[in-house]
């Protein structure tokens, strides 16, 4: 067997064992604290653990004031929880702890570091100093002010980007839902070869996004793309359409945002279709039969039966769709070019990416990311409030 494969297997194995041993250590550490919950016992444990930590850290050569403070803090929090629990009901804490610590390492630490970074001055000319000394200058809220004052790109301001992002999100989600709904209705009415149609319709979603986007980008090429060839043929066949202005368009250079939107609509419809189809299949036929007896037409059935009954399925899908579309960098990055490309299709997240990795403004980008996060947080809060109000009404 190739030495690379053996090495890779070894790495995975060590990682798995490391995780298991970490879980064992966490459980043992917490169990000891929860069992010895009396104040005197906790003080002894606190002191002993701290001394052991110091010895281990010194032996491993990782002892610094910072690590010492962190360790003391962890020890203190654990002792405090143990004291409060007083030896009762500690099993749930033991069970939840490994997952909580794992999540904290994967999510909370990067998030906390992002907040820290947003108050500092890390950029191209200060990276070296930071890597060498571990010190970055604190600039407090300067980066947050700069997000609104200084453009993250060359031309487009934060507010332009924000409005563009809202337009991008709204138009995409609207057409995703509309297209998904129409296709789901057609599918549910279809009797023959339903599975085949469904498979074909799901292809854009099932395909790796990079492949789908790059393939479609090619179809929007001004000369050799399918869309322009079609428009060209249409204008040749029908002079009337030609007079109306139907003809080849420089999609990528003249209308980059529209091109991205069209591609993303095509990509997003299958997801909504699958979700709505699931909702439609769960509606009992008896509602429609009763409505038919009462003389309701097709539109009335959709308005008064279908839409209200798929709402519980549709609303979470719309929220997810909104967040995904708001944060969708792939389509814009791949369509407008990776080398900076045009700015006229940039939305908040793609501008954020450029600010960080094209213009090397790391702290500024961190502040920018925090603001994007706050916007999304507010949207989610509004959604949660609306949903709970609706539940209360029911």
């Amino acid at each position: 067997m190739n030495i690379d494969y053996i090495s890779a297997i070894g790495e995975v194995g060590v990682f798995v064992i490391f995780v298991i041993l970490s879980v064992v250590f966490i459980e043992f550490f917490l169990y000891l604290h929860f069992k010895l919950h009396k104040l005197k016992q906790l003080i002894i444990i606190f002191l002993l653990s701290t001394i052991i930590f110091i010895i281990i850290a010194k032996c491993l050569g990782i002892f610094t004031i910072k690590t010492f403070i962190y360790l003391v803090l962890i020890e203190f929090i654990t002792c405090f929880i143990s004291y409060k629990l007083n030896g009762k009901n500690y099993i749930p804490y033991l069970l939840v702890a490994p997952a909580f610590i794992g999540l904290a390492l994967l999510l909370l630490y990067p998030f906390a570091f992002e907040i820290y970074l947003s108050f500092t001055d890390l950029k191209l000319t200060t990276i070296f100093k930071w890597k060498d000394t571990g010190h970055i200058d604190f600039v407090w809220f300067k980066n947050y002010i700069n997000v609104f004052k200084l453009s993250p790109l060359s031309e487009t301001t934060f507010f332009d980007l924000f409005l563009r992002t809202l337009l991008w999100t709204f138009s995409n989600v609207f057409f995703h839902v509309l297209g998904g709904f129409i296709l789901a209705l057609l599918l549910i009415e279809t009797k023959k070869m339903k599975g085949i149609y469904r498979t074909f319709l799901v292809i854009p979603w099932a395909m790796p996004q990079v492949v789908a986007v790059l393939a479609l980008r090619g179809e929007f090429h001004s000369q050799y793309g399918f869309i322009n060839i079609l428009l060209n043929k249409l204008s040749e066949i029908s002079p009337f359409l030609s007079k109306l202005g139907v003809g080849p368009v420089n999609w990528l250079s003249d209308h980059p945002l529209l091109t991205c939107t069209l591609i993303n609509i095509w990509l997003g419809i299958p997801f909504m279709m699958v979700v709505i189809l699931g909702g439609l299949q769960s509606i009992s036929q008896s509602y429609y039969d009763a409505a038919s007896i009462d003389g309701a037409g097709y539109i009335q059935k959709i308005k008064y039966i279908t839409l209200p009954l798929i709402k519980p399925v549709l609303l979470p899908a719309i929220t997810l769709g909104t967040i995904w579309t708001f944060n969708n960098i792939n389509v814009i990055y791949l369509v407008t070019g990776q080398a900076g490309g045009t700015e006229r299709a940039d939305i908040l997240v793609s501008a954020l990416y450029k600010a960080a990795f094209v213009y090397n403004r790391y702290s500024y980008s961190a502040a920018f990311a925090m603001i994007v996060f706050l916007i999304l947080f507010i949207i989610t809060m509004i959604y949660s409030k609306t949903m709970s109000a609706k539940h209360e009404e029911l």
């Binding site: 030495i3 690379d4 053996i6 090495s7 297997i9 070894g10 790495e11 194995g13 060590v14 064992i17 490391f18 298991i20 041993l21 064992v24 459980e27 043992f28 169990y31 950029k123 191209l124 000319t125 990276i127 070296f128 890597k131 060498d132 200084l150 790109l153 060359s154 031309e155 090429h221 001004s222 000369q223 420089n250 999609w251 990528l252 250079s253 003249d254 070019g337 990776q338 080398a339 900076g340 490309g341 045009t342 700015e343 006229r344 990795f357 094209v358 213009y359 090397n360 403004r361």
Partner: protein, 413 residues
């Protein structure tokens, strides 16, 4: 909780972890060299060939088996990935790249300056100049040039145009004959392609380290570009690198402006029908276009250990020795960076090498100053806006200058 099971489990897992751990090849292994490059696919066999030859040579000399890992990236991806990897503390050991990225990396401290480690006097002066910043040298040259030239298909063009008027005449003839939809292909969105024309109007992006873009020369250059697209319609309306390459290879355009890196690919494709020429003199100013001259370089990470650096140094010296530089020219048609190889019979008697050298003499070294990064990023956006009629060249140059100055200020603050 029964601790004896926990202890038994722990006793079992620790030895397993130790056994598995011994299987892992440590990242710090000095005999494992990681190279990142941005070359076209056809260059990969050449690089791999030399790597294998060096491995054999090293094994014979020291009895040690080296391991090389080569990863390929697109030009811009390489820049961003190297930056991200350096920040994360896991950069590759060496990188094969043009010089334009080195300025930024040098400022950030990601790369090692090499003037005390290599005998730089062995290499051609202009190619070394292009990787020199504040009297420090940041890379070892592999090839000389990396410059743009006019390339043509001999099936349609017997002699290359000497002036832009001649070029336009030819293009007009092709247009009348309805032989081609477009006459000339180049990457209209990439500012690297605008620089030779900017030079032909008497301009240059930097004066020392000061941006000089708000000039009549830049306005003229943008108008020239705009006219090529809208007035003369000699260039395809939307064309990136892949597009221009395909148009030329599919014989849909007789001319292309491309760099020396593409020559061997075109020779393989067209055979004797391919030839290169010097970019035609600008009839309006009587000046020749000035493509940016640099080369390809080995750029070494500042994080490399001294033990590994010794091996890397030996590898680079092997890769750029006279025999391999001549081999590089024969296989890739890239001019050698090594003086001794440049003066060899193989190079001096080759027609393509002669024209390529003629073009180099008309070019200017690419500024390595990190301010150039601000120029590239800004120009790309505004060039696009002018070419889609969103702003006029006059408006554009003012904005370009202001934006470049702002970016430099932000980086320098």
């Amino acid at each position: 909780m029964k601790f004896k099971y926990v202890i038994k489990l722990t006793n079992l897992l620790i030895p397993i972890a130790l056994i598995l751990g011994s299987c892992i090849q440590k990242q710090t292994n000095p005999h494992h060299i990681v190279i990142w490059e941005m070359e076209d696919a056809y260059v990969a066999p050449f690089i791999d060939g030399l790597i294998n030859e060096f491995k054999e040579y090293y094994k014979t000399k020291y009895g040690i088996e080296l391991k090389f890992t080569r990863a390929h990236y697109q030009v811009e991806d390489l820049r961003q990935q190297f930056q991200a990897a350096s920040l994360a503390g896991v950069p590759p050991d060496i990188m094969i790249s043009p010089s334009d990225v080195a300025g930024v990396y040098a400022i950030a401290g990601f790369i090692r300056n090499i003037e005390n480690d290599f005998d730089i006097s062995k290499y051609n002066k202009p190619v070394v100049e292009a990787i020199t910043l504040e009297n420090k040298i940041w890379g070892v040259p592999i090839s000389n040039g990396n410059h743009l030239m006019l390339m043509y298909n001999k099936k349609f063009v017997t002699d290359p145009p000497k002036t832009t008027d001649e070029l336009f005449e030819m293009c007009e003839k092709f247009k009348k004959d309805k032989r081609f939809s477009y006459c000339l292909a180049f990457d209209g969105g990439e500012p690297f392609w605008i620089m030779p024309w900017f030079g032909s109007f008497g301009g240059w992006p930097l004066d020392g380290r000061k941006p000089t873009l708000n000039t009549t020369q830049m306005i003229e250059t943008l108008k020239f570009y705009h006219d090529l697209k809208f007035k003369y319609r000699y260039i395809p309306p939307e064309c990136d690198y892949n597009c221009m390459d395909s148009l030329f290879k599919e014989e849909k355009v007789p001319f292309i402006i491309n760099g020396d890196w593409s020559i061997s690919g075109y020779i393989n494709h067209f055979g004797d029908n391919f030839m290169i020429g010097v970019l035609p003199k600008n009839s309006k100013t009587n000046l020749f276009p000035t493509p940016m001259i640099s080369g390809k370089y080995f750029i070494i990470s500042s994080k490399i250990s001294e033990e590994k650096f010794k091996i890397v140094k030996e590898f680079i010296e092997f890769y750029t020795n006279k025999e391999n530089q001549i081999k590089q020219f024969k296989e890739l048609k890239r001019l050698p960076a090594l003086k001794e190889a440049s003066n060899s019979k193989e190079i001096l008697t080759d027609k393509i090498a002669r024209v390529s050298m003629e073009q180099i003499l008309k070019g200017k070294p690419m500024p390595m100053a990190w301010e150039m990064r601000a120029v590239w990023d800004t120009l790309r956006n505004y060039q696009g806006l002018v070419m889609t009629n969103k702003i006029t060249p006059e408006e554009a140059v003012e904005k370009i200058q202001a934006e470049v100055e702002r970016k430099i200020e932000e980086m320098d603050r």
